[in-house]
Every structure is written in C-alpha cells, then in structure tokens.
Subunit: 304 residues, 2 copies
Amino acid sequence: MTPDRYYLGVDGGGTKCRARLRAADGTLLGEGLGGPANIRLGLDRAWSSILEATHAALAQAGLDPSIFPRLHVGLGLAGIVTPTDSIRTRAAGPAFACLAAETDAHAACLGAFSGRDGAILIAGTGSAGYALIGGRGHAVGGWGFEVSDEGSGASIGREAIRLALRAHDNLAPETGLTRQIRDRLGGTPAAVVGWVNDAGPADYGRLAPDVLAHAAKGDAVACSIISGAAKELETYIRHLHALGAPNLCLMGGLSAPLTPWLSPWARSLLVEPEGDALEGALLMARQAAPRDITQRPIAKSALP
Amino acid sequence: MTPDRYYLGVDGGGTKCRARLRAADGTLLGEGLGGPANIRLGLDRAWSSILEATHAALAQAGLDPSIFPRLHVGLGLAGIVTPTDSIRTRAAGPAFACLAAETDAHAACLGAFSGRDGAILIAGTGSAGYALIGGRGHAVGGWGFEVSDEGSGASIGREAIRLALRAHDNLAPETGLTRQIRDRLGGTPAAVVGWVNDAGPADYGRLAPDVLAHAAKGDAVACSIISGAAKELETYIRHLHALGAPNLCLMGGLSAPLTPWLSPWARSLLVEPEGDALEGALLMARQAAPRDITQRPIAKSALP
C-alpha cells in the first residue's frame, strides 16, 4: 500500500494566513493560523507565516513536518501578480510533494465555484474582480484606491469627504451626511484636511458605514455616493460576465449592504460561494498533484 | 515735515517669499527674495523668510531696519486660513508702523483687481478660488488633491493614470494617451502601482502636459479628462461670479492651456490681472495704515 497523501491549502493576506489540511479522501485533519503572508512583505516573512500556519494544522492532526514529502500544497497569496512571482515564491519554500502558488483571488474564485467557471468581486476597503474561465484567470481592478478600487469602502469614504467639503464651500448640497462627516473629522475644513493628511485607505473605509446608514434613510448625498459605488461595481460585474463567468460571488465587508443597490440583472448573477479560499487552495494542490487513484471530487458535506 | 512713510508688500508661499518696497508716493524702491513662508512650516520659519526678503528689499533701496517704525507692512501668506492665524502671525513679528496679514489668495485677488471686487481662480498643481466682494473675502476649494482641487494638474494626472489602468483591464478605451501613461510609469500595472505609492500631487501634476498634448491632437480619453477638468473649473467660476465677482482672473500654470476649453460665457468673464500679489500686499499695507495726507491711489504706471 502506498503511503498516504496529504493536501494542504493556504490562504495568505496582508494581516494573516490560514492553512487547512485534508486527507486524500477529503477528510478534514486540521487547521492553523499564521502571520501575514502577502509576498510584498518579503518571501522570508511570507514563508515563515505559511509554515507557522502549516505546523499548527499538522499539530492538530497529530502530524509533523516529516510528512512534507507526501504533502501536496496549494498557496493562494496576496501580492502574487505575475508568473514570476509564483516561481519565486515556490523556489523560496521547503521541499513538498508538490507546490502550487497563485494569487489569493484565484484561490477564492476556485473555492467559490469548486473549480468551475465563475467570478468573484471583492468589495471591502478595496475592490477587485477575478474571473476563472476554462481554467484561465482574469484579474480586473484592485490597483489601489488612489487610482483604482472604484466602488470600494475607501472610495466611498473619500467621496463623502469631498462632498462634505464642497457642501461647506456651497458648491454642493448640505445634508445630514455632509454635516456628520465634517463633525466626525474635526468640524472645520482645516481639521478635515489635517485628518486627510494622515489617512490611509482603511481610515477612509471606516466612513463607509456612515454613508450607508444615511443612504438607508434617504439622505440625497449619501444615496448618490452609494448608487455611484454600486454602478462602479456593476461595471466590473458586466465585464466579468462578458469574459464568460456565468455567475459571480460578491465578497468582502460591503457585499451585503451594497447588494440591494445593484440592478436586478446584476443581482440575478450573484450566488453564494460553495467553498472558501482555503478550499480553492486545496483544489490547486489536487490539480498540481500527479494523478492519484484515491482522488475524487470533494464532497460538499466535507466543506466547513 | 513728517518723516517718510514706507510700504512693504510680501507674498509668501511654500517654496519662496518675495517682498516689494515702495515709497509713500508709489515709487518702487526695492525688491527682495526669501525662503518659504507658508505659516504651516512654523511662524519662526515664516518670519525668518519674510525678514530675509525684507532686508534684501531694504538693501536695494539703501535702507536698513532702522526704518521699521515707519514701515507699513502687508503680508499675503499661504497657510493663513482663520482670523486667529492672522493674529498669531502678526504677534510673532517685529514692531512695524503697522502690519496686516492675510492669505496669499487675498493678496493675489487684491492685486489683480487693484482692490475692486473680483475673483481669482488658481489652476496649477492644485486649484482654489477666492472672491473679494465689498472688501470681504470668500475662499472656495483648495483643500488638497485627495478630497478637493478639482480641475487641477494633480487631478488631471491622477485621472489619466486611473483610465490607463482601466484601459489595461479592458474597462475603458485604450488610446495613445493611456498607452503613453503606462509606458512612462514603468509599463506594467504593477510598476504603475509602485509609482503611485511614492507619488505626491506634484508628481501627478507633471503628467498634465502629456494629457493636454494628447487632447490637442483629439485623443478621446485625453479630451474627456481635459473637458472634465474645464467643467470643474467652470463650476468654481459660476460660484465665484454668483457671489458677486463681476470678473475673474484665471491664474497658475494651467490657466493658459485650459482657457480654450472653457465655455464662451466663462471666458467672457476672464480678465488679465492688473497687479500681482505683491501689489495686493502693498494695498493691504496702505489700507492698514492710518490715513496719510501723502497717500493716493497707486498710479497704474507705477505697477511693474
């Protein structure tokens, strides 16, 4: 009898990294957590976080790194943009039975559609889309809120500030939202500018719930900002669908509050994800592994 | 016979500060240059620059600081936003016969219309408007390119990058401009994002001439960016006119190239400035001075 094969999926972002270990028959053996693993933080740092999460998952299964030669690994990591990034990442890791590395969006899309064609659109602090068509990935947007990330929380917050300052200057209508935004950021335009000087995307994004709350009450400025953001997301949805994605998962903290603002057509394309990014990374590991007679599709009941 | 009065006008910005000295009859006596005098850099630094420029202007006239008790001073300084800023600025300076301090926009507007009602709109790296109506100033916009400064060079450059990335993602048309912008910033979206990470308003603003050049050749994306910027400036012009400014001076590095993109109505309001910000600061000094029998309006021939 051949020794067991193991499959490990890793989902690594800028703040943390998660690993999930499954047996060849799909049985969940363990999960683990590690530090940040965006490869822009450096490959040493990323691999240290990946191995931290891996060791924790192995420990939960009563296993240790001696199984590495039987471990098939799939990594979905933030910061992987080009094929070269993938090659460098794999070269910097230890020896496994096999190792695949793609962007975290690829893993999330694979997991959401269990490997079938589909697309995801992330609407959180930032925004980014990814479609998987016939095994090929297509990334769109997500270049950062200064010059991209339309429809994101950061974009919503920044637009709210812009209109709050225009309202102060009598260039745009003053509403409950524009007053509240100025009040929250110090009351005067000079205080608002001081706040902006130190603000990053996450700071702008933290204003999005205020805008959503005012929009829900019919505030005209808030409604125009939120419907504008929904229109931007819809541009991405139309594009991902035109690429060939029959369905789409809207993800991220703003997916639920923004969904009702989408057109009925866009909403009709939305589906819930079947699995998470870790399941996508596990699929990558299975796809990369040499064919195995014990391999079979993961039963949906085996998903978390 | 009373000892001579002298009038000094100072125009201070974030990079340099200029001073102009006139006799009571308007005769030009001297000019001088100093370092940055935006009061946000600190009042010590601002005053050190102001005095550097002042001493240089006095030296050109064969005078020295012993005339300070007969010197009437007007300061137009970047960074003065509130009356408190003006009071703090004056309190930190040496003893003059009298001392007025206002924002540099106030001095520029006073100089441009020789003290009559009017407005200025600055379109350079940033954008900002200022109207002077019956002696009262009204500032509008100019809160920085992250959340304001519509129609500015920085806004034009940032929009060009945004559309260059959208063109790469097949979300917007690809033109000569979008290709050139990506090529200039490293060729790949990843390189563009790297450039954006280190970019400030001046860096974005340096892309504006490329956009203008492509717009002049009919590039569709460039034309949409530039006509959008002109529309934003026109919103300011309409607002400043509605406040009561009969005419308007468009100033800054983008005023000449953007003027042809304004509507005939907006262009019909534009006039050339009669004097510069130093003349405005000199007017502030005269207005602040106790009435003087030798005082008379500055002859236009005395202007530079």
